[in-house]
């Protein structure tokens, strides 16, 4: 176990594909913050943990699907995006008036609740794909081409979506730097 901790994602992913649960658990520990954060920013905190769990389960059952091309994190984010889309479609079928964002999480009552709610509300006004492109490139630091692979979209489309989404967010949130406040 101690040896595994220092291994690269790709080595751990190969071990997980052979059914080594311990290797997969290190991958979960390593990436849960980003996967949950991505899903949280995409669809509200209420469903993020359930979708993240589903994402990791899919990554486990289809571990052999990671061929080593590209980064493991990107592969994981692609599963997360597809899981989110499938869930959003299901929810839209059940609730036709649904806007794509879940109910605010209980955790929003604590800490920086107000700031989180404002950000969540602004993100919720963006189209799903614009939101995903902005979160991947601006928040999680993926390149445009990585985001294009994750979202399965042409590079030009992702660039357009990031630019449009960012502009819209700046309009909604204002351009004040209150992060240190």
């Amino acid at each position: 176990m101690a040896e595994l901790i220092h291994q690269a994602d790709e080595t751990l992913a190969a071990a997980a594909a052979r059914g080594e649960g311990a290797a997969f658990e290190i991958l979960v520990r390593r990436h849960e913050r980003v996967v949950r954060g991505f899903l949280n920013r995409l669809g509200g905190a209420g469903r993020a943990d359930d979708l993240a769990q589903e994402t990791f389960l899919t990554a486990w059952t289809k571990a052999s699907g990671f061929t080593g091309e590209g980064r493991y994190k990107g592969w994981l984010m692609r599963i997360a995006w597809r899981t989110f889309l499938m869930d959003a479609r299901g929810r839209r079928r059940r609730l036709p008036e649904h806007d794509g964002m879940s109910e605010p999480a209980e955790q929003a009552d604590r800490g920086d609740a107000e700031r989180d709610l404002i950000v969540e509300d602004a993100l919720g006004r963006l189209k799903e794909a614009d939101r995903a492109a902005v979160v991947l490139c601006l928040v999680l630091g993926h390149s445009h081409s990585e985001a294009a692979q994750i979202l399965d979209m042409p590079l030009g489309t992702v660039k357009t979506r990031v630019a449009r989404g960012s502009a819209q967010l700046l309009e909604l949130l204002g351009d004040d730097d209150d992060s240190d406040a």
């Binding site: 658990e25 980003v34 943990d49 769990q53 949130l173 209150d178």
Partner: protein
Amino acid sequence: MTPTPDQLARLARRLALPERGPDEAFVARVRLARSAANLAREAAHSRREQLVIEIGGGGALLLAAHQLGQIGEQAAGLLAPLATGVGGLALAGLVAAAMLSTLAGEREGLA
């Protein structure tokens, strides 16, 4: 309006995910879900195996029944000419003789 790099950097800071260490509770949650999924897969696998065995058993029974039916037909084919060839009275005599010999055998057994 195209956002400037400074504006984008400020926006990224506002949207940033909070820094924190690994959430062990979530890791445990995924571990449990994985165990449950593994168990469900194993159960489905053994259900499939059981179904294959049951279908195989059913097939063997059908084959046995078919063969028994064929043997019964052959036996009937042998006995039918005998029954028609022997007259009704002779047949009753044969049955009576068989009964008497059975009774005699039982008496010997008791003695």
